[in-house]
Symmetry: C2
Subunit: 294 residues, 2 copies
């Protein structure tokens, strides 16, 4: 990226992790207030956790929950659009999207500084584990991998389970992302032994750091916190530098962060560790297979 | 893998990290002795560092060095083959391979319990940085990604720079590897500021852990130690469990490790974290491109 002389290279990014506040309306109110607060502090981009308006409903399969989904142009998003416009910032809003009767997605909507929808991304990799019954609710995304160009930072959007797939990080970086944003809802399960909790959270933090390292990009995971039945969402929202260094790490309580990033660190790091130069694209064909026997 | 009743599931694996001993002959003697020692302790598989018989010659471009390369059937390997046969074990020997006049590779030769060459792998991703002039010496590998089936453990072979490419780990895991083995020669450069040393080593350890996590495999990096001109090889040879947990970590001194692994942990972990189920192979086509603009 060529820089104009005298133009600040830094961009102020912010994110918040919280418990579900008990209802859709309460969550909307809580996070709108949080966005306004961070905007006043100078945030230019704000990132929220996965499905920020909802309890983590995928804890069970419940047909009634489909009625809680909202459309891309839902009036619920209007006050957030106004906040973005008033403060000239970009907001990333992870929603439960109703696309059509019987077609639902786990989606991030990006709202730009004119209050307009810049673009959206539908979660490509859908998990399904006990108490994370997401395949019941969400069709796999068909948007492909997405990068949102904002004035100072190109943001790649990926969602939670996507973070376990190096392919997704790579493809999004190759579209020009400076930062990979992973809104997340990941939890410890009280049905599992407590002694593996630390290891699970650590592996999650490591895989997020690895995306920075392999791709020379910032990586930001924004998780929720709080306990819902047997699930305790572990927070630990984390930002890593293109080197993989941890720049910010929250704990397991509610909290928010506002900090400055230097987008030029992406290019600087890739000059030092030039991995993109050496990818063996002639030998990667089998990545398009399910397994090595086919 | 189905297990025969009463058959031990554990496999004893061993590795050693050392300084270059000053000459090709000294290194051959040192590592042969080390292999014999580890064999006596019951090792079933032994893993050595990258280019274990040589100083790290790629620190400069020197035409005379090509004469130090050896062929796949070099007599230098004979005592190692005898050691493998005598002790009924499998040895992984990283060599500077002369394939033909003007065609050289950075290669691992796998020697089986009958003293026979089981297979070989030629480094696919070749680095080139100041003091790591490997593109001068090594043609990029044309073996593709390789897994060596041994009686209790399927070993995927990758070499040093390969470890920064999640594609290589994924493709090797998809060929059935239980363990990814990365012989390595990675160093701190005294021409770089010392305050980034810890960060560099940490990023390297994180990327190796990430291959375990993303692929549900053991990952073993075996580095050299010692200082050669401005390069200090940082050791830190590390084994990680399929969860990403660090099972063994050496320091920056010479050392060796012998430990038991349970290959069934691979399948057990993949049942808990079923990433291979959910790869979006319909959406990964652009991984075969150099960059997102083409």
């Amino acid at each position: 990226m060529e820089k104009l002389k005298g133009m600040s290279a830094e961009v102020k990014v912010a994110w918040a992790q919280a418990c579900s506040q008990g209802s859709f309306e309460n969550n909307a109110e809580y996070y709108l207030s949080k966005c306004q607060e961070l905007a006043k502090q100078g945030a230019e981009l704000i990132f929220l956790p996965e499905l920020f308006l909802w309890d983590y409903f995928a804890i069970r399969e419940d047909m009634a929950v489909f009625d809680q989904a909202i459309t891309l142009d839902s009036p619920t998003l209007k006050p957030f659009k106004e906040c973005a416009q008033l403060n000239q910032l970009t907001l990333f809003l992870p929603i439960f999207e109703k696309r059509a009767p019987g077609v639902y997605h786990n989606t991030v909507v990006a709202i730009g500084p004119q209050g307009e929808m810049l673009d959206f991304y539908r979660k490509m990799h859908i998990p399904d584990d006990p108490c994370f019954y997401e395949k019941y609710y969400f069709s796999p995304g068909d948007t492909g991998f997405k990068v949102i160009a904002t004035p100072k930072l190109n943001v790649g959007i990926l969602i939670c389970w996507d973070q376990w797939f190096p392919e997704a990080a790579r493809l999004t970086a190759m579209k020009g992302a400076d930062l990979l944003y992973y809104p997340t809802a990941i939890a410890w399960d009280q049905n599992e032994p407590g002694e593996i909790y630390e290891e699970q959270c650590d592996s999650w933090r490591v895989i997020n750091r690895s995306h920075s390292i392999a791709n020379g990009v910032y990586s930001l995971a924004v998780n929720r916190v709080g306990t819902q039945e047997n699930l305790t969402f572990w927070g630990n929202s984390q930002l890593t530098h293109p080197t993989g260094r941890v720049m910010s790490l929250l704990g397991s309580e509610e909290g928010s962060v506002l900090m400055e990033l230097d987008p030029s660190a992406v290019e600087a790091h890739r000059k030092a560790w030039p991995f993109f130069r050496d990818r063996r694209i002639d030998a990667y064909g089998d990545l398009l297979k399910r397994w090595g026997d086919s």
